[in-house]
């Protein structure tokens, strides 16, 4: 039995798996979303939902695995590249950078209370009170 547990542990360490990312909005948000549209929002190239409301972007701490996965999978940039990218936009007000949430629980809670927000959590995170618009 010890050998089996050890093998499982080693396998888990050797091949770390990641659950993936869910992009979430308020349940009342009936805008159209596809992967490219979400990417435009999080690169500051789009600011208004198709329902006419101004989008408020939310993110998780830079140290979060979910942030890392979101940045690399969807935006094609690592965290430091993205920070330099946003620093080119922010200081002339070309775009407002994502507001940082302390945890995935806070992200879900904040979005469920604020209709114009868009954010992301890991795929295994509970998403009660919000709408999942994409998962990858």
């Amino acid at each position: 039995m010890k050998k089996i547990i050890l093998t499982i542990l080693l396998a888990a360490l050797t091949f770390p798996t990641f659950a993936g990312v869910k992009v979430i909005v308020h349940p009342s948000n009936d805008s159209n979303f596809d992967k490219r549209t979400i990417e435009k929002f999080f690169l500051g190239k789009k600011k208004i939902f198709s329902n006419g409301a101004k989008a408020v972007l939310l993110t998780l701490p830079d140290s979060s695995k979910t942030t890392e996965e979101f940045n690399s999978s969807l935006l094609g940039k690592d965290t430091k590249q993205l920070k330099a990218y946003w620093s080119k936009l922010v200081f002339t007000g070309k775009a407002t950078p994502p507001r940082e949430m302390a945890s995935e629980e806070q992200m879900v809670e904040f979005i469920s209370d604020n209709p114009n927000t868009i954010g992301f959590v890991s795929s295994d995170s509970p998403t009660n009170g919000v709408k999942v618009i994409a998962e990858f």
């Binding site: 920070k83 080119k88 950078p97």
Partner: protein, 382 residues
């Protein structure tokens, strides 16, 4: 260091009340730069002397952005910059404006806005946003006038997968001595996933700019040769027409970075020579370290000036214009190291050669000078 802390403290306490607004987004940046030259030189593009110097190019800023309503934001940025003359950090409003987002395609900004003349214009004080220690001095010589009062209309559209933006602006910059009356223009940029190309055209209806050495020369020639007031005006930058052209491209593909930019400045009816400057920078990202090389050059065109209307004194006018020449080329080698989240350490060594800077008595045709400079910076965003 005390002065930096003092500057930071002044900024913090001055705007403590703003910090109380929970919906106000606050972003900050800081660039602390030091440098040393291989000699004390009068070269107009050499900032540092034989002893290590700091502050001249250091800058610390805080930006406050608040939603007035769903479509309108108020933004202002306070900048503390090193002042070479007073040896203090001078604090000023870098820009402050209202921005109305009409749609995803159009927004309008009114107030003290950025002049989008260069690729770096939007983030010129934010060292963390670019690769080199300082923006290339050849092209960025004019960047001291980076903001002005006025209106800008920005458009953005997708053309297929490409993001097409334009920024139309009407501004005026007015100081106690210098005046850029009506600086108007447009910058258009096309952005792909890993590249961008842009072009800028702008003009100033009435530019007045005091250059002490030129003023003294004109005054002295008026006495010696009896120049008319009109001829003196042909030499000085006083209510003249100026135009600026700029274009370039930027590539950030996988680990390769290439930046190219060229600009041309023409001030009509003055002794100031037409100037063309460009740079090409290439870098390769190796994990957190980005080594780079850069070549840059500035050239003047004495043939662009015409003093034939001066008759017998034509050569006098042309000689004054020729004395305005500032030309050189420079190679830089450097690296950027992203050593911590939101922080970068940069080093750059630049060798300037073939320097002709006649007005500052540093190099002339046939007797060109050389100069080298080492620069170090720590840049952060927070």
């Amino acid at each position: 260091m005390k002065r930096i802390m003092k500057a930071g403290l002044t900024l913090a306490t001055s705007f403590m009340s703003v910090l109380c607004f929970s919906e106000t987004a606050i972003q900050g940046y800081g660039s602390f730069k030091v440098g040393v030259g291989n000699k004390d030189a009068s070269f107009s593009r050499g900032i540092y002397g034989e002893d290590w110097g700091a502050k001249q190019e250091s800058a610390f800023g805080l930006q406050f952005q608040s939603d007035i309503n769903e479509r309108t934001t108020a933004t202002f940025q306070v900048l503390a910059e090193g002042d070479e003359v007073s040896d203090e950090f001078a604090t000023e409003f870098n820009w402050a404006y209202f921005d109305y987002i009409a749609s995803d395609a159009i927004s309008v900004a009114v107030g003290r806005i950025v002049l989008p003349l260069f690729y770096y214009s939007d983030f010129i004080n934010v060292g963390y946003a670019y690769t080199t220690v300082v923006p290339p001095r050849s092209v960025y010589r004019l960047s001291i006038y980076n903001s002005a009062e006025g209106v800008s209309v920005k458009t953005s559209n997708f053309v297929g997968d490409y993001f097409l933006t334009s920024n139309w602006f009407v501004t005026r910059w007015q100081g106690s001595e210098n005046d850029y009356a009506n600086t108007n223009g447009v910058q258009v940029a096309l952005n792909g996933d890993s590249f961008s190309v842009f072009g800028t055209y702008s003009y100033v209806d009435n530019i007045s700019f005091q250059i002490e050495a030129l003023n003294q020369t004109a005054s002295s020639l008026q006495t010696t040769y009896g120049l008319t007031d009109e001829q003196v005006s042909d030499l000085l930058i006083d209510e003249d027409y100026a135009r600026f052209l700029g274009t370039g491209f930027n590539i950030d593909y996988q680990d390769i970075i290439v930046n190219f930019e060229v600009s041309q400045t023409i001030i009509e009816d003055s002794a100031r020579l037409d100037e063309t400057a460009w740079y090409l920078m290439g870098g390769y990202r190796i994990d957190n370290i980005l080594p780079y090389v850069m070549y840059e050059t500035t050239e003047n065109d004495p043939d662009g000036k015409d003093f034939s209307s001066w008759g017998a004194l034509e050569q006098v006018g042309q000689t004054v214009a020729d004395r305005q020449e500032v030309s050189y080329s420079a190679y830089s080698l450097g690296f950027r190291w992203d050593f911590s989240q939101g922080m970068a350490l940069k080093f750059q060594h630049t060798i300037y050669s073939d320097i002709i800077d006649i007005q500052n008595s540093f190099g002339s045709d046939g007797d060109e000078e050389t100069f080298s400079e080492s620069l170090v910076s720590i840049d952060a965003v927070f």
